[in-house]
């Protein structure tokens, strides 16, 4: 029986006419060509660098840098190595990108929703916001913020002060810095316990609602727990914390925490510029949700507030997330404009100063490129994971 079926099949074609085999052959051919080109390029570079007497290799990363950096999240001074400069720059890039993404998302959502508002004034204001900011180049906005922030601010000696503890001058916003003393660990522990507690409480509340239909005031209870637990711990340990107040000494304020004009203007410019794009993405996402969904929700008796939160936004997110990912990538990459206004990000201190002091262009550019590639891949992986979670689940 089976022999009969076999004989009815067409004969197997010769290898050179088998589409599977030829496809494989050409793929291998193209791949080896690409590899050969890459090999030649690299080989050529190495030979040229050697021929021109340009030092190469990564030894420079361990030599001391000899220059200072104004804002660092990790320990750094002039005797630190160029490798350390790399980390300082990377941390600064990550900080401004992370905060920028947060701020841009919040602003973008508000503006996006506002554009669809039934209130004429609110909608027009949002429209002007989006259309203006979207069409002005980021570098110009950066300069605008930087110099617009700086010019009106007074000199340190004439700083604006609040309660003699917060000072605003053209050197930045100086605030008291908390100093954690021994015993503070218990407060952190209480905070962690509170977060875990809230997690389980939410699960319990959701289960109960599914079973009995009764709602539990999750938000209020969570707030109570997250403030109450650490506060309790603080009372028990006797508030083991003191403040380091900024003080005017010589030219400038010493001590405390500072938000520099460079950091603030970079953060403002990046998040405001990106938020105008996010606003449009949010608007299109919301408009993509069928009006029937809203009508159905109203028919069920849901109030507008709950309709937006439970029906519209979750469906809109499916449309919003993929383009939102590109905006996050853009914001991260755009943070490299920092060098123009003296914020010490990776490009400024590593691909700028370090490159110039050592002249190791190939190595430094390659490291910098890999960082941005890595960050982009990381962001898109995270967002793809989130997207997969938000995708329509068929039951």
């Amino acid at each position: 029986m089976s022999a009969q079926i076999d004989s009815s099949r067409p004969a197997k074609p010769p290898a050179w006419r088998d589409p599977n085999v030829t496809a494989m052959f050409f793929q291998v051919l193209v791949l080896s060509l690409v590899l050969y080109v890459i090999y030649t390029l690299i080989n050529n570079t190495m030979m040229n660098l050697a021929a021109r007497g340009i030092a190469s290799g990564f030894d420079f990363l361990s030599t001391s840098s000899g220059f200072s950096i104004s804002e660092t999240l990790i320990e750094y001074d002039e005797s630190s190595s160029y490798g350390r400069v790399f980390w300082v720059g990377l941390m600064n890039t990550l900080l401004v990108s992370f905060l920028g993404i947060m701020l841009a998302t919040v602003l973008g959502f508000i503006m996006g929703v506002a554009r669809l508002s039934s209130n004429w004034i609110v909608a027009k204001i949002a429209m002007i916001y989006v259309d203006t900011l979207r069409n002005i180049p980021l570098l110009l906005q950066l300069f605008f913020w930087y110099f617009a922030v700086l010019r009106p601010l007074p000199k340190p000696k004439a700083a604006i002060d609040w309660f003699d503890s917060i000072f605003l001058s053209n050197r930045g916003l100086y605030m008291p810095k908390p100093i954690f003393e021994s015993g503070f660990g218990l407060i952190w522990a209480a905070l962690i316990v509170a977060i875990i507690g809230i997690f389980f409480m939410r699960r319990w509340a959701k289960k109960r609602q599914e079973k009995t239909g009764e709602q539990f005031p999750v938000l209020l209870t969570s707030l109570g727990i997250i403030i109450g637990m650490p506060l309790l711990a603080a009372i028990i340990t006797g508030f083991p914390m003191s403040w380091d107040f900024p003080e005017l000494k010589g030219f400038n304020f010493k001590g405390g925490m500072v938000l520099t004009p460079e950091f603030c203007s970079l953060l403002f410019a990046l998040s405001i510029y990106t938020s105008s794009f996010i606003a449009e993405i949010v608007r299109s996402g919301i408009m993509a949700v069928n009006k029937g969904q809203t009508e159905a929700a109203y028919a069920l008796g849901l109030r507008p507030n709950l309709t937006t939160r439970l029906i519209i936004i979750p469906q809109a997110l499916r449309v919003i997330i993929p383009p939102l990912t590109s905006q996050y990538l853009n914001l991260t990459k755009n943070s490299s404009l920092a060098a123009a206004i003296a914020y010490p990000d990776l490009v400024a201190v590593f691909a700028g100063t370090t490159l110039n002091q050592t002249g190791q262009a190939v190595e430094i550019m390659a490291m910098t490129l890999s960082v941005y590639l890595g960050l982009s891949l990381l962001i898109s992986t995270l967002m793809n994971w989130y997207n997969a979670r938000m995708a329509l689940v068929e039951r």
């Binding site: 570079t45 021929a51 340009i54 002039e78 930087y146 010589g250």
Partner: protein, 337 residues
């Protein structure tokens, strides 16, 4: 490790690879009929574009000197404005032939970057500029100050050294372009502006009220500035070097753009002068140039004193150590013979 190094090398391969095939830089210059000269993005006195796009300044004049030596025509130069950060890569990759951009001669740059420093055209030193109303009279009073400067220069290193040496702290505010440094300093973001003293004098002219500012007396570093060529073309290296020396030698011999023509027609001129204009000896031939190479330089561009007065004079900077050795300075040319 080697594999990583190889993989990383791809980044700028294309530019380097394409220029490597061309052979000696001098051949390329002669073939195309002009020199490509890297200059600053605008520094009065050194290299500054005018409104109609013509460049002028001390650094620009030394580009013109080289063009006069090679082509007998000082106008055969094309300019590429470069930031401090871009300059060496531009020279290494062959984008420019000569870098004449207030660049400090240091050991590291000379040895590890594939560069050759030709000769010093301006002896400078780093200084500090402050607002007069700050009441500071010396750089030693700058403890805790915010200091604005340019990214990727020796300035950043000298400043760090100076403050460390004197047990002082400071806050660096470092910009990519000089114009942004000036704007931030003018807006009061920092107490101090530091760069080479010639640069301070030049940038001061761009401030809103130049008279409100003063340069402190201290000079904290040695900054010999001069043109740079890529390593590996000895002929070009020699030509640039001796073109510079020719301008210094001419000033010492009392030759200038006004009187040099007379030497050509004066058979009783002294032998140094006859050698200089190419009537005797074979200085030009040794360099692979026309016998009248030095004559052309002086006729077209002038001697060192003329170049200095024309460009640095308006900044009201004294000639100082940039005077001839015979006048108490350190400008000194090896003999042209």
């Amino acid at each position: 490790m080697k594999l990583i190094k190889l993989a990383l090398a791809t980044a700028i391969t294309v530019t380097v690879a394409s220029s490597a095939v061309a052979g000696p830089v001098l051949d390329k210059i002669k073939q195309k009929g002009f020199i490509q000269c890297g200059v600053s993005q605008g520094l009065p006195g050194f290299s500054n574009p005018s409104e109609d796009g013509t460049w002028s300044g001390l650094d620009v004049d030394f580009c013109r000197t080289v063009a006069a030596a090679i082509f007998g025509d000082a106008s055969k130069v094309k300019y590429t404005p470069l930031s401090a950060k871009e300059r060496f890569t531009a020279l290494q990759s062959g984008e420019i032939d000569v870098l004449s951009r207030n660049t400090t001669w240091t050991e590291t740059r000379d040895t590890s970057l594939g560069l050759n420093f030709t000769a010093t055209t301006y002896y400078d030193g780093q200084g500090f500029m402050v607002r007069k109303d700050l009441g500071v009279k010396s750089a030693l009073e700058l403890n805790g100050a915010s200091v604005c400067t340019n990214q990727g220069t020796t300035t950043e290193l000298n400043m760090a050294d100076y403050f460390r040496k004197n047990g002082m702290t400071y806050e660096p505010v470092v910009f990519e372009k000089a114009d942004e440094v000036v704007a931030a300093y003018d807006a009061g973001r920092c107490d101090v502006y530091t760069t080479d003293k010639s640069g301070l004098a030049a940038q001061r002219t761009k401030l809103k009220k130049p008279t409100d500012h003063m340069v402190l007396p201290e000079t904290i570093s040695k900054e010999p500035l001069g043109p740079v060529v890529a390593q590996g073309d000895d002929e070009l290296f020699d030509i640039v070097k001796w073109s510079i020396y020719a301008t210094i030698e001419a000033e010492e011999m009392g030759l200038n753009s006004g009187n040099i023509a007379k030497i050509l027609t004066n058979p009783s001129a002294n032998p140094d002068q006859l050698r200089f204009v190419g009537k005797e000896g074979q200085l030009g031939q040794n360099l692979g140039l026309d016998a009248k190479w030095a004559y052309n330089i002086i006729r077209e561009v002038g001697n060192y004193g003329e170049i200095f007065d024309r460009n640095i004079g308006p900044l009201e900077l004294p000639r100082g150590i940039n005077n001839l050795w015979s006048n108490g300075g350190i400008m000194y040319s090896p003999p042209l013979r």
